[in-house]
């Protein structure tokens, strides 16, 4: 092994340790709930907790609806910006980046101020209204990831020619979007979708301030009141995120028509 290679390996090992050690420590701790040795007791307790099931189920459902809403907003927008208004691209890109710049707490206070029970549109006053508000809020939070990945996907296809080809064959806008555009940016949409999923599952500020029983506040509550279970919960959350990333890789690799083009 040459000296240069040795240094490279050392850097990789150090970097790996930096990321892995806390995880290993956390995992190790989560297994020590029983005094007589390692075991998955903390996981059993967490998974059997009805509150976990309820909050996690709620967050998953909310994440899925957010993804659908995000796709419905972002795909047509990114498509028409590329097709018809290319000069608007920098502006739209800037707008979609705003949720990264403006803290969620500012957004949610804005929501509460505008949609409180004494306002013209008292969304916070009802269960449906609050859910709608948090859904729109999450769709906004997911914009930077969703828009960028879809826009990158659109860059790999000749949007103009494909649209014109479909039009000359009689297709209308809905069919062009559903049959021509969406399948061709599917992998990008998916990667945006998984990121959205990860954000919504762990989001705390919106949920706590709108008083919604989702997974984020549950994790915080658990962290403040239990010892071993929060670690188990964190490991579960990590596993979900990694599973999402693995799925992106899997779909990208096995997408049958995209292997050569990309």
């Amino acid at each position: 092994m040459t000296e240069r290679r040795l240094w490279s390996w050392l850097a990789v090992v150090l970097g790996g340790l930096y990321f892995l050690l806390p995880l290993v420590g956390m995992f190790d701790f989560s297994l020590r709930m029983q005094r007589d040795g390692y075991g998955f007791e903390a996981y059993r307790v967490v998974l059997a907790d009805p509150q976990f099931q309820q909050t996690f189920g709620y967050s998953v459902a909310l994440a899925l609806v957010t993804i659908v809403l995000g796709i419905l907003i972002v795909v047509p927008t990114a498509y028409f910006v590329r097709l018809r208004f290319p000069s608007l691209r920098p502006i739209v890109e800037f707008l979609t980046l705003l949720p990264l710049v403006i803290p969620p707490i500012v957004i949610v206070f804005g929501y509460i101020r505008i949609y409180n029970t004494s306002s013209v549109l008292p969304l916070t006053g009802s269960w449906w209204g609050t859910n709608l508000l948090i859904l729109f809020g999450y769709a906004t939070l997911s914009l930077p990831y969703m828009y960028r990945s879809v826009d990158t996907g659109l860059r790999t296809i000749d949007v103009g020619s494909l649209t014109e080809a479909a039009q000359s064959l009689g297709a209308g806008w809905a069919r062009i979007l559903a049959v021509v555009v969406l399948p061709n940016v599917f992998v990008s949409v998916l990667s945006g979708a998984f990121l959205t999923f990860a954000i919504v599952i762990g989001e705390y500020v919106f949920a706590a301030l709108l008083n919604v029983g989702s997974f984020g506040p549950y994790m915080v509550w658990m962290g403040g009141n239990r010892a071993y279970e929060p670690s188990a919960l964190a490991v579960v959350a990590f596993a979900i995120t990694w599973a999402c990333m693995g799925l992106i890789q899997l779909v990208t690799r096995f997408s049958k028509f995209s292997t050569v083009r990309r």
């Binding site: 479909a166 064959l169 009689g170």
Partner: protein
């Protein structure tokens, strides 16, 4: 009334007029090429016929039906693009069947038509492949089949051969022409390649700066160019200066030799005009029936295989001529003094 009728078509992008008063009648089953350099407006006209651009003014009718205001997806037009534009996520069969599916045809009818189209383009065994698994030529064949499958009234081809290599280009253009003839479909073909246009068209529209300079058969366009641009753009042309001696009699002085043209001239005596001639009309030595004889010196000899192109310096400029290669007669050497000749009827007087 013509099948495809284009009347007073105009298109401006901002202050730039890209197409100016474009008029054209195309009969059913005719193959018409728009020929011209890039930026001449040929693709814009095609895109207006397809419905991808809205004319600033003018009218387009297909089979008597006004389509000027119709969106592209309701015009019943087939389009083949330069970059193929096949849907990457669909197989060859699904690509070809796309238009039929949009039209709401049944599965059995679609499958029948798709296999018919695959047979027409000779790719019956590649129906299950994706576009990226095909060569450029195969992709363009599929694009052609896809455009033809829904039985469009007019087929538009926007430089469909430009992205292909020379050999495939020639074989595919012959195939396009064969298929067009077999189906009897009206076709408009946009190209900047004069050889392509000359070889496959019933008629050619030569476009220049947004105007149709000349509309005619390939034979007319090549042999009787209406404008200086057409003459220079289509084929190779020799231009020589001549002095008008007697305008009414069509008499000029060319390379010191008086020549009587078979037409009267508009210029005054002593005025300088340009005469044009094709390289193949000029003979080395005194050709039979050639009444215009000039003398000069061989300046360049280019051996092109079956043809030898020779440039002769004459009084008034350089003049190119083509002779066939003859194995027992080597080409003349550079610097040699020669006589060249041509019949006066092959001298073209070009309008400005």
């Amino acid at each position: 009334m013509a099948f495809l009728d284009i009347q007073h078509l105009e298109k401006s992008f901002g202050p730039t007029r890209v197409v100016k008063d474009f008029n054209l009648n195309i009969e059913k089953g005719e193959f018409v090429s728009f020929l011209g350099p890039s930026g001449c407006g040929k693709t814009t006209v095609l895109r207006m016929v397809a419905g991808f651009e809205t004319p600033t003014s003018g009218a387009i009718r297909i089979d008597g039906r006004g389509v000027t205001g119709l969106p592209a997806n309701r015009r019943n037009i087939g389009m083949v693009f330069q970059g193929y534009a096949l849907f990457p996520n669909l197989t060859v069969e699904e690509n070809i069947g796309f238009g039929l599916k949009v039209a709401g045809e049944g599965k059995a009818a679609i499958a029948r038509r798709v296999s018919e189209m695959l047979e027409l383009i000779g790719l019956s065994d590649l129906g299950g492949r994706y576009p990226f698994q095909l060569s450029g030529g195969q992709q363009q064949r599929v694009a052609l089949a896809r455009a033809l499958a829904p039985r469009p009234q007019v087929l538009l081809l926007d430089e469909p051969l430009s992205a292909l290599d020379a050999k495939v280009r020639i074989s595919l253009r012959e195939e396009i022409r064969r298929i067009q003839r077999d189906l009897g479909i009206t076709a408009v073909f946009v190209t900047h390649d004069q050889e392509e246009a000359l070889s496959i068209s019933d008629r050619i529209v030569v476009m220049h700066q947004g105007v149709a300079d000349q509309v005619g058969t390939p034979f007319e366009i090549y042999n009787r160019p209406a404008t200086r641009f057409v003459a220079q753009f289509v084929g190779t042309l020799n231009l020589l200066d001549a002095d008008v001696m007697d305008a009414a009699a069509g008499k000029v002085r060319l390379g010191g030799v008086p020549v009587v043209l078979n037409r009267t001239l508009s210029g005054r005596s002593g005025e300088r005009i340009s005469l044009a001639m094709r390289p193949e009309t000029v003979a080395l030595g005194r050709g039979e029936g050639d009444d215009v004889v000039l003398s000069g010196r061989i300046a360049e000899v280019h051996f092109l295989g079956s043809v030898i192109r020779i440039r002769v310096a004459v009084d008034g400029g350089l003049l190119a001529l083509d002779t066939f290669n003859q194995p027992d007669r080597p080409p003349p050497s550079v610097g040699a003094s020669v006589e060249i000749s041509l019949p006066h009827r092959d001298l073209l007087v070009l309008a400005a």
